[in-house]
């Protein structure tokens, strides 16, 4: 059981980081960023090339991935989403735009990076061993421990930024009420751009971090986005704490489910549980009604 709990904790940290960027963009712009998984994939490729191929230190490549994707986020927001949001009268338009950008990124990646799975040398090696797994013991590999620790640190860093800095407070104000924020002197356009940049940067950071243990391929985005949506729906769309709790819950559900149930039943039950849960709590654990 210790191994199952370790697996759940590692997955929970990782999933929370993945979900956080998606919920950030939703809270600021009311846009469901379907390209979140593809942004994760691009971040992973940045680290693959900088660290894996060109030999730069990992701790240079990782922030570079976040920064590169933040720039992609700024560009997407400026050239795609802002014009659509400014002129569209229906929410579906921004959703279609998001689906379009996801397809664009995935097909571009397939052309540029090819079809193969890619991986990088481990940043750290070794494991904490607590007995034989087959006999009820447990193992926490150093790469998994590093990934979980860095994911948790990044989440704490983001929470501190949003809570205690001036731009962070502006982000919260825009998320709560755009018009009121504007009346209080907040530059809403710049703040939404910052929000999109942080959301995309987090996707890039997650991809860059996880490429060290999971590798990456051009088609990984759809599955990442799907899992991120599940977490956000559980926690409540647009709520930071909801994304974190949703991520941790999904991580433990997956780890415990795979241990106790046949593999094919685990995700079936997760989806059934989510449907039942949403029937009774349509806004998720911490969400408020949209609109």
């Amino acid at each position: 059981m210790i191994q199952v709990l370790i697996n759940g904790a590692v997955l929970g940290c990782v999933y929370a980081l993945v979900a956080l960027g998606l919920t950030m963009v939703f809270s600021i712009m009311r846009v469901v960023n379907f390209a979140h998984g593809q942004m994760y994939m691009l971040g992973a490729f940045v680290v693959y090339y900088l660290y894996g191929e060109y030999g730069l230190p990992f701790y240079v490549a990782l922030p570079a991935a976040a920064a590169a994707l933040a720039l992609v986020g700024v560009a997407f927001n400026r050239f795609f989403f802002q014009p659509v949001l400014a002129s569209a009268t229906r929410e579906e338009n921004s959703m279609l735009m998001a689906v379009g950008t996801a397809l664009l990124l995935e097909n571009l990646a397939l052309t540029v990076f090819g079809e193969k799975q890619r991986g990088v040398p481990p940043v750290v090696d070794g494991a904490f061993v607590f007995g034989d797994v087959a006999e009820g013991g447990a193992i926490l590999t150093h790469p998994n421990a590093m990934v979980a620790a860095l994911a948790a640190l990044s989440i704490l860093g983001l929470l501190a930024f949003v809570q205690y800095t001036r731009p962070g407070r502006a982000l919260r104000a825009v998320a709560q009420d755009k018009e009121a924020a504007r009346l209080q002197g907040v530059d809403v356009k710049a703040t939404t751009t910052l929000g999109f940049a942080i959301g995309a940067g987090l996707a890039g950071l997650a991809g860059g971090l996880l490429v060290t243990v999971y590798g990456v391929n051009s088609g990984v985005g759809v599955n990442i986005s799907t899992k991120a949506f599940i977490m956000v729906m559980i926690g409540g769309a647009g709520v930071t704490s909801g994304a974190i709790v949703g991520g941790v819950l999904l991580g433990f559900a997956e780890a415990i489910g795979y241990d106790l149930l046949p593999g094919s039943i685990t995700y079936l039950l997760i989806f059934v549980a989510m449907i039942v849960f949403l029937v009774f709590k349509p806004n998720g654990l911490f969400g408020k009604p949209w609109g």
Binding site: N7, L110, I139, G219
Partner: protein, 397 residues
Amino acid sequence: MNHRIRLHLTLLAAATPLALFGAPSRAQEVLRIGVNGVMSGEAASWGLVNKYCAETTADMVNAKGGADIGGKRYRIEIVALDDKNDPKISVTNAEKLTSQGIKYIIGPNIDTTALAVKPVVERAKALNFPYAFAKELYKAPAGNSVLGMVASYQVGPIMYEYLKTKKGVKSIAFLARNESDARNQQAEGVEAAKKLGLNVVAASDSYEPGTKDFMPVMTKVIKTKPDAIVLSGVAPADAPLLNKAARDLGFKGTISTETAQDSKILAQVAGAKANGFMSVGGASTPEIQSDYMKEFVSVYKKRVGEWNDEAGTKVYALELILAVLKKNPKALDDVEVFKKEMATFSMPNPFVKGGATRLEFAGQADFGRRSQVGVPLVINEFQDKEFKTLFVGTIRN
């Protein structure tokens, strides 16, 4: 400009193209070959490798002036369509290809898409070469599909026999990707292992496509204490992660799969943790490559940028199609002629050195007729960043 000068200029203009392209020239015919398979998403490598292999064969043939079929030179043109592993799109693709008069189609890649396009190719009197293992595609009354590679139920018994006799394996666990193809392969593998007297300690464990962290699912498998783990229908993207998870959890036994894999992916993602991993190869290991195969690899690299070991099992389809068409040009327009040729066709395998290996159609034992490309049954083992050939077997025919 007087009339005479104008006449000269007109004649010169008319003669220029002839001079540039060599007159008199014989107009070259075009033979179009379809490729229908998954070329995007997580399983993109399955269909893209089919496409790249067909394009590479076409490049090589076209560079030599085209394929000589019935005294005419045919330039080979590949028409590739992505079905996204979606049966609906696969059917649309097959209809599109056959409506263009294409008679020979390579793909699709999985049971669901291959079964969906079966009626389309039958209705259009075309022939397709799926990389899916469902027997109803190849057994009578089905007649227009030819299995493009070795099936898991053909490799499994040979591989488990090897594990039992050479590696002393007594207990075995099966883990499959949760998709119909992989689950079928798992069920067939379990039956084959039981027939050999192996103790199957995990028969139905599976993981969701898209899983990246395999520690949870592998923890459960390791707890059953198997001597060997078989990864049924594992995608090349998943294989290194599964190997890594098993080794990280302290598993010391053998890990194998009945699908083709790529050594570079294993080396990059799993490194030394993939050492000893057994998989199916085609003609890609240096020990058995002919000069023709080396040339193929070099042209493939020129087109795609890098070699993919998965292609070792996928180099055969177009080569064999062209060889049969050369033998009997009537098959260009009539796939029934092609099907008759399949029963007896045989040629030296150009991809394997030595010249002793034959390339022919197989499948008599499994499908009751020769409806399978007779790819050599090569079992590879990953060791220190590359594959080594463990042994070469043959499909029962």
